[in-house]
Amino acid sequence: MKFVGIVGTNAEFSYNRLLLTFMEKHFADTAEIEVLEIKDMPFFNETDDQTDSEPVQFFCKKIEEADGVIIATPEHNHSIPSALKSVLEWLSFKVHPFDGKPVMIVGASYDVQGSSRAQLHLRQVLDAPGVNATVMPGNEFLLGRAHEAFDEKGDLTNKGTIDFLESCFRKFMRFTDVANILNLPEDVVFEPGEYTVKALGHNGDLPMVVTLSSDRIESIDIDSSGESVGIADIVFTRIPQEIIEGQTLNVDIISGASVTSHGVIDGVAEAIKLAGSNPDILKKRPKAGSQPKPEEVELSTDVLVIGGGGAGLSAAATALQEGKNVILLEKFPAIGGNTVRTGGPLGAADPQWQNKFAALPGEDSTLEKMLHMDESEIDEEYLADFRILKNQIQDYLAEVDGKDKYLFDSTIWHRIQTYLGGKRTDLQGNVIYGQYDLVKTLTDDAPDAVKWLAEIGVAFDWDKVEMPVGMMWRRGHKPKENQGYAFIAALQKFVEKNGGQIITDTPVKELLIEDGKVVGVIAGGPRNKKVTVHAGAVVLATGGFGANTKMLKQYNTFWSEIDDDIKTSNSPAITGDGIKLGESAGADLVGMGFTQMMPVSDPNTGALFTGLQVPPANFVMVTQEGKRFVNEYESRDKLTQAAIDNGGLFYLIADDEIKKTAMNTNQAKIDKEVAEGILYRADTIEGLAEQIGIEPEILVDSVNKYNSYVDAGEDPEFGKNVFDLKVEVAPFYATPRKPAVHHTMGGLRIDTATHVLTKDGTIIPGLYAAGEVAGGIHAGNRLGGNALADIFTFGRIAGKNAAKNR
């Protein structure tokens, strides 16, 4: 039998050490006792994790390998020494080698008490859930007056004491045998068969079939067709793979998808229960695959891109087109970032295409309003463009006068709308609007971005021109299917085909800076892997900080309040990492106080794609009282403020015709959401009102009035001027909505070449930034469709310039 004996003090001289050494010698015939010293252990601090340090790992391994542990503790101030407590804290923090381990407590002290009170404290500590040792009851060996107990050779002199120690130790040997039976892996026997259970997905329960033979999990099949493509794929492949490989339920959850990960594990556990076995046994089994020593990897490349969303992938693709080597690091297990979550179209002015569509009622009055706008409201940089726009509008209106009107657009109209839409005043009275040269670059180059995306394989739907919430004009280019995933899938394919290296699960920890130039990064990988990448240029494409509530609150100067539990439509990966990295290289930040809320988010999850999300021409927004409260086409911040002013939660009311225009859903999904209570459906408006707790007369009145405005093409109450569907064909739908964080406008200061700039406007050599991580473009409010325009415009510029290192 093999034991380790832990000397419970770091003091140079200790009778407890002497006691353990005596035991080692005295019981050498019956057991092997290895005496371990704690003096090299680091001191515990939960905010300075040193679990991976050699001494902690050494102790962990020794204890895990031993059949049992003997701890000899002195008594300091009626308790155990801090040095021993510190060791136990390390061994209960991230690693738990004591779990189920048989432990015997002994102790020596100068006084007659023999560390009796320290031993009691030690028992209680070893009993704590993080430690969870199996401590032998009774048999307290307390060696009092220790300075008189040993002879010169270190042997105990009193025969009675030795007899008692022998008796205690014999009992401990038996106790160890018995206690370790509890630690033996239990056999599992399954009733073979296919078990249909449920796994929890993002959008609710998913059917899962677990196939079990009498002693093995053979296969796990999850029907994830109800999920948004791309987001959770990795969970549904990696977790089942690790469960089957290790025949264990002890698997690492996937960061950013913990709910879904647990959902799959719990589903398999349920199947095991149904098969008549105990899933806890499988939860105690070791993880799949061995745990190799932390690995160090060193790589070199021309261009390093940080972040695997749309901006990062287009930067990578462009740098590859320039003939350079490219590495892209993504901190999450899957690429896609926020882009994969988008359902909105890309905003770009392409008059040749848009002119083929008929104008909608109300669009001409929007244009006429521009003609009557006072020029003093326009900031100087934009004035020349504004005058050109007025000429363009006058020409257009003259041309279509008395004829069938077509849809107007121009890059300058896009630019002026971006500028006007982004101009805001914060709580402190600071006015902000988009930096002219950046907005010009965005609006001039966005049409090229669409062409470029089409060339690399994104299939756009040219038969429809879209205008989602907040876009202000119909200039949306939408992929034919799969929304945001269409961009990511096409770009990923292009990058990989052209030799770009995409490395996931690898968050960047710091930038390597030499003589003021950014020359690479240090990143961390799974299982403490260290990845160093040397690069000619580094592109930050890490997104904003929408999922970092602390940062949102720290910088906010726009909203009167940001809730601690505010939801976000963003990926949980979007935590401002690139902004911090940029700051470490001396970057300046712009417009950080301005955050966009998505007014139409799921009240429980912040997700955008539950319920019926369609162009606002097709639905009515009502308060919890059933009254309209806003022009459904208002900008996102006006909608958000209106929602906040009206109690936060509100409803989108629509009729059955809406299915034809709802880009995010299908009949099966609608039925499922109705069943789950995410969406409400009724055959009458009155019935719908009752379901959502609204007075039926009020809702009927609101709907009737709205329908009359659609007929009239004019909304005297809230000024809505673009209409499509009425609410008249049963069944009727109500989608509950609430504002959630959607986009952070502020970020690193950049120039039109995407160089990251310092406070005094100088370029930080080797560092580029594109997408939401950069600021200055959208200013106080971002138009719908402009995030995609931004990432695919500035992402490409960053890729090109980083490749040429100019």
Partner: protein, 199 residues
Amino acid sequence: MKLIGIVGTNSDQSTNRKLLQFIQKHFADKAEIEICEIKGLPAFNEPKDKTAPAGIQELAEKIEAADGVIISTPEYDHSIPAALKSVIEWLSYSVQPFIDKPVMITGASHGSLGSSRAQAHLRQILDAPELKARIMPSAEFLLGRSLQAFDEEGNLVDREKIAELEDCFEEFVLFVEITNALLKEHHIRKVQNKDFSWK
């Protein structure tokens, strides 16, 4: 009245620190409370010369000069953190500033128990003859679910909890006054005790 508040952990994030900061602010008109950190103090290792390092010496002087001490402890593995225990060992082994010093124990924990077991251990520890602190009896302040307990300004959210703390603190002020009045002429034993060792 001058008090010292000791943050019972070396962690960068601590709701016990927050609790002491709240106490400091909330009772500013009743007592001057200086908050002391134990982060960065060296681990106790029973040195032969029995000399405390500078940081411990400094803390000991502050405690000696104060009318009373508030210790706020988290709970690690059913007991007080090693970092706090180490400081107490240093103090008991060298300067012994706790002798006859009125002490109030508070504690905050992320779970619902509010560090109850750590507080019980801390009482027993401070009761050891080489420490001989005068711990306020029959009054404890346990703050459970401490991550949700404070608002943005660091104020306790729960009014009842504030009232409880106010009662506790009022009692401590009284306890400090009475204890210090009773023990005024009591310094001889303190001197005797200075020659302490675990040997």
